[in-house]
Amino acid sequence: MLSACGGATQPVTANNGGAAGNGQALQINGAGATFPNPIYSKWFAEYNKLHPEIRINYQSIGSGGGIQQLTNRTVFFGATDGPMNDEQLKAAPGPILHFPTVLGAVVPVYNIPGVTDELKFTGPVLADIYLGKIKKWNDPVLAKLNPGAKLPATDVTVVHRSDGSGTTYIFVDFLSKVSPDFKSQVGVNTSVKWPAGVGGKGNEGVAGLVTQTPGSIGYVELIYALQNKIAFGSVQNTAGEFVKASDDAVTKAADAAAATIPPDFRVSITNAPGAGAYPISSFTWILLYENPTDKASGKAIVDFMQWALTDGQKYCADLGYAPLPANVVMLEQAALGKIKVS
């Protein structure tokens, strides 16, 4: 059942008189994470302008679905917001390599009547809020962190994602690192058993609930908060600084983690060390077989990745993603050489 099949890639006739000159276009199919979908779509469109003979088709069906379809070889490449675990890698018919493409971040958003200041949070405080231990906004711990803010005595309504998502994965990964209680009671996954609160579907569901519910707190992707102009708080990093998420602060988190990055790039950079690093940051990955069944498509996707890691990074800023730090790009360029394309 897991034998190689030609379903993933097939030559189709180019109808635009492509620059390749041989009249043959190559279509490559991929599937996976929804979070990087906007920039992937941009990349595939831009790359197609440069190389009309190569068409890359991406379905943003979710990280879990991407991993599954890659394992079944129904797509040529996958994409995920959380690295594949050892069990998943073992289940695949061949070795799979991870390549970070861009960076994202998750930010705490809140709606507290009478509070206009930007609130400061620490990891353990966020964990206690999501564990249901901090029940009131004027809790002494919160008041101590935010001496200037007039925090009311209203109940905290916790809002989380109801759908399985990479955003949840990044958020609970951070909370589990900073709070042993959170780690033992909730743990890390794309869906978890939340001890408190209500669930909204998608970033828009969480943002909708937060903006309408006085006294609520939620978490959304940085891009979503920026695009919809939702105010968000800053979070304390390991250096003790309160950092507000931005492209720069997210790239710094990756930069700091690069020194100790494992050769397979399967690394969580939440709670990263280093000055200025935003602690709820993460890579998102493209997944490729080390030994692709279709060498032509393999060559094409490696060429595409070389472009995406260098020229492609300039599209990050417009779309709200943080670009990869230079040292990670260099490591990845070397790793792309491992893919057997001939």
């Binding site: 679905g65 869906s191 978890v192 058993k193 609160g197 209500v198 909204g200 579907k201 309408q212 519910t213």
Partner: protein, 304 residues
């Protein structure tokens, strides 16, 4: 038997058999794909409340409860409204108003559920929250109204489901009332019945069809996914409170299926599908049984 008849019977038989085969096939596929979860949890899947994808513990009770509770509530709200609309259109409505009213109720059925869901988040939920906030403290101590006023929760879900169910129930009930012969109403009037009594008699004659209409609405409420998940709060708990955020079977499948990356988790979600399938079958069987037992009653009381 003549050969054209034989061909006809065979052809129709194949279609009828295909229907049975499809339903059996769905059941078999669901059972097969949820085998891992069936084996691991057995009957506890139906009885336990712990849904923890990280620990690999799955119990479906809160989802079963949420689905049945929201659907029953929706039915309680929708049935009187839908039957009222059906009676008004078929018995009382001035002729020129009939077509526009039918058009409007059918328009409700054509609105996509995602639109209902968004409307729910931005319009209905704030209204529900305002109502919850104005509820006097003495009532808030009742289990039915306990808990913080989130706005999202069982009440919002039941209301939105009710609105979605009304056009289906009222359309079928209207058609059923149309089949009651005019002569029966005339006979009732001739015996000196008031308008209310005549309509009651017509509804009694059409009772099996009306129950069918209500059950159609119930089936629709059981399976509705998108609009419900957007307003119910998605918190798996078995709670009596109308204000509590809860969860339904269809909603958890829609929410978690795409990211369910390990085999047991996937299998548990498919078993939720199986449970929903079984419950839908049971509901249909029960409504069949109800209709059958009513049809056996002597119809002579109809005009009483």
């Amino acid at each position: 038997m003549r050969s054209p008849d034989l061909g006809f019977r065979l052809g129709i038989g194949v279609f009828a058999a295909a229907l049975v085969a499809i339903v059996a096939g769905i059941g078999a596929t669901l059972a097969n794909d949820s085998w891992l979860s069936l084996q691991r949890f057995g009957l506890n899947f139906w009885r336990t409340s712990n849904w923890d994808p990280v620990a690999g513990e799955f119990g479906a009770l809160p989802f079963i409860w949420g689905t049945l509770y929201s659907s029953v509530l929706a039915l309680l709200i929708a049935t009187p409204v839908a039957l009222g609309i059906a009676v008004f259109i078929s018995e009382l409505c001035p002729h020129w108003l009939r077509a526009p009213l039918i058009f409007l109720t059918e328009l409700l059925a054509a609105i996509p559920s995602i639109v209902y869901g968004l409307w729910g988040i931005f319009v209905l939920v704030p209204v529900v929250r305002a109502v919850e906030l104005t509820m006097p403290e003495s009532l808030r101590t009742l289990p039915l109204f306990s808990g913080p006023p989130f706005g999202v929760g069982m009440l919002a879900a039941a209301l939105i489901l009710a609105i979605m169910v009304v056009p289906f129930t009222s359309a079928v009930a209207r058609e059923v009332l149309k089949t009651v012969p005019m002569t029966q109403r005339e006979a009732a009037y001739a015996l000196g019945a008031t308008r209310f009594e005549a309509i009651r008699a017509a509804m009694f004659s059409a009772r099996t069809g009306i129950i069918g209409a209500v059950m159609l609405g119930f089936g629709r409420a059981l399976g509705e996914t998108m609009a419900v998940t957007m307003v119910i709060g998605n918190n798996p708990q078995v709670a009596l409170s109308l204000f509590a955020p809860q969860y339904t079977m269809a909603a958890v499948i829609a929410n978690e299926f795409t990211e369910a990356a390990n085999a047991l988790y996937m299998s548990a979600l498919i078993e939720i599908g199986l449970v929903l399938f079984v419950i839908t079958l049971l509901v249909n069987l029960m409504s069949r049984g109800l209709i059958w037992s009513m049809a056996r009653q002597v119809p002579a009381r109809a005009a009483a």
